[in-house]
């Protein structure tokens, strides 16, 4: 057996309070980084859940549209033109808009809700529970309510499940319209919308009665099975004038994510949060390792005097950095998993731990502690074995 004494660990463990401070620093920054990344990714994912539920291969939007919350409408006849192509199975218009929803419970509380209007002849969307309820939307002023909407809209989902009749008003620029909730579906909130309603395009236009006829927000194109989507979008781009933008489904998703990532402060703010978390970690770990070295210079000098090489001392400090990283990461991960649950309940954002993110943060923690260790070892030069006699 060739097992040497774990000098680095024995020294680190000797001062329990200091070790705990170092670990709390790492835990703190691990949790901060996890939260920032978790919420950021949840934002990006939730902002495209709508897109992911769309049952089309190819989409038209106005070139002036920047994201779901800022759509410009465009003429519906642009969507009819692609019907000239053999590959097209069907096309379907989608109407989008924000209106005010009156909380049926408190009555004087109004809040913006996102309304999706679809053409019932096709099944352009596939959110959970939508298909079985579609028929009900043929009746005027009936809507489906997103059960994952924020609670400020009222206890709609639970009331509905108890069989209560839910009637309220939806307001748009001064004109209010009575609507009845006839079913629930699942889409979920995103940074842009706190709650969602789904209805037929006819009902949509009843609510938004000031909208110009013949203008839509998204044009959905379903292609026949086996069609090369890429080739088709290229051909369609040449065919249609430049007043519409043509995208594959994946491009449409990236388009939305990209808006939040680069055209808003949100991406920047989250990256800043991550950077701050890492800086706090580096500073705390550096501070701890540095004091550890400078207070124990005579111990290091003794080790040198009895014949240990400088590299041995270096590896002691770096090993300590490694222990701090691993011992801080593990509780940090556990706390984060609990925090994610709370955040999910509080924000209804799909904040979940993924193995890629867990690994990424683990390596970031290692790098962070290693960097602090590399900075702290400079102090080791002051460990002079001649000083101890």
């Amino acid at each position: 057996m060739f097992r040497k004494l774990p000098t680095a660990w024995l020294q680190l463990r000797h001062q329990k309070v200091r070790l705990l401070v170092a670990l709390s620093g790492v835990i703190f920054s691990v949790v901060i980084v996890f939260m920032q990344l978790g919420i950021r990714d949840a934002l990006f994912n939730s902002s495209v859940r709508f897109h992911e539920g769309l049952q089309g291969d190819c989409f038209l939007i106005s070139p002036r549209s920047t994201s779901l919350i800022a759509m410009q409408s465009f003429p519906e006849r642009r969507l009819l033109q692609p019907l000239a192509f053999d590959e097209v199975q069907f096309v379907s218009p989608i109407y989008l808009g924000f209106a005010q929803w009156k909380n049926p419970e408190t009555r004087d509380y109004w809040r913006n809700i996102f309304i999706i209007g679809i053409d019932l002849r096709h099944q352009p969307v596939d959110f959970s529970n939508v298909i079985e309820n579609l028929d009900q939307l043929k009746i005027p002023d009936q809507v489906l309510f997103d059960q994952d909407s924020r609670s400020e809209f009222g206890p709609i989902a639970s009331d509905f499940q108890q069989g209560k009749v839910i009637q309220t008003e939806v307001g748009n620029q001064g004109s209010n319209r009575k609507v009845k909730v006839v079913g629930l579906f699942k889409l979920g909130t995103s940074f842009g919308s706190d709650g969602n309603l789904l209805t037929s395009h006819l009902n949509f236009l009843r609510i938004f009665n000031n909208r110009q006829k013949g203008f839509i927000d998204v044009g959905l194109i379903k292609l026949k099975p086996g069609t090369d989507v890429k080739k088709f979008t290229d051909r369609l781009s040449k065919y249609l004038p430049k007043d519409v933008k043509i995208m594959s489904k994946q491009e449409f998703i990236e388009f939305e994510k990209n808006y939040w990532q680069s055209s808003t402060a949100i991406g920047f703010i989250f990256n800043l949060g991550v950077a701050l978390g890492i800086i706090v970690g580096i500073v705390v770990v550096y501070q701890i390792l540095y004091t550890n070295v400078s207070e124990h210079l005579s111990q290091y000098a003794t080790l040198k005097a009895i014949g240990y090489r400088h590299n041995y001392l270096l590896s002691m400090v770096l090993q300590q950095a490694f222990f701090i990283a691993v011992l801080g990461y593990i509780p940090g991960l556990l706390i984060t998993v609990i925090q994610y649950e709370f955040t999910k309940k509080a924000t209804l954002l799909p904040v979940i731990m993924t193995s890629e993110r867990a690994l990424f943060v683990f390596f970031a923690t290692l790098a962070m502690c290693f960097l602090s260790g590399m900075t702290a070892v400079h102090k080791l030069k002051a460990a002079d074995p001649a000083d101890i006699f």
């Binding site: 057996m1 060739f2 004494l5 000098t7 005097a305 009895i306 014949g307 001649a386 006699f389």
Partner: protein, 223 residues
Amino acid sequence: MESVISIRSLNHYFGKDPLKKQVLFDINLDVHAGEIIILTGPSGSGKTTLLSLIGGLRSVQEGRLRSMEYELHRANEEKLVQVRRHIGYIFQAHNLLPFMTVQQNVQMSIELHQNFCLKEARKKSEAILTEVGLGERIHYYPNNLSGGQKQRVAIARALVNHPKLVLADEPTAALDSKSGRDVVNLMQRLAKEQGCTILLVTHDNRILDIADRIIHMEDGQLR
């Protein structure tokens, strides 16, 4: 007789040019295997400086200094490390590692040598600690021991590898006369058993009797 230490025309300076100050002047000394030599002299005369040069803790600037088989003038760091590994040091402050038990402190010395094996290292450290009278306390931490006991651990750590040369700088200064006496007796006994050479710096006149030879140093020169 073979000499363990051989010093010729050794000079040593501290500080840089205009403040450069010479502290060792033309030192010549031969120490033979198995000798116990005591080095005395007033404070500031350069005893510690000489000891640290012999022990490879400082680089030799001028003159020749051979410590065992190592020529130390212009020696690189790696050579100094090798010298240090072949010397047993006993410091005035015991310099034990407070985060390790007494046995682990001794083991740190054993681990420096190749072909070490954990089981053997444990046995060896236990044996030497028993010899210095601490067999019952091998799992104590240094802070729970008296000054004399700590110094005995330091002796155990210095001698466990059977070094050819032991350097001790005022090992009894921090001890009362009884434990001081015990400590030097112990050093003398173990050194004779192992046949090692001891160079000991002290101000303590009561322990001069263990010496084979006494050297006096004054103002950086040997008398």
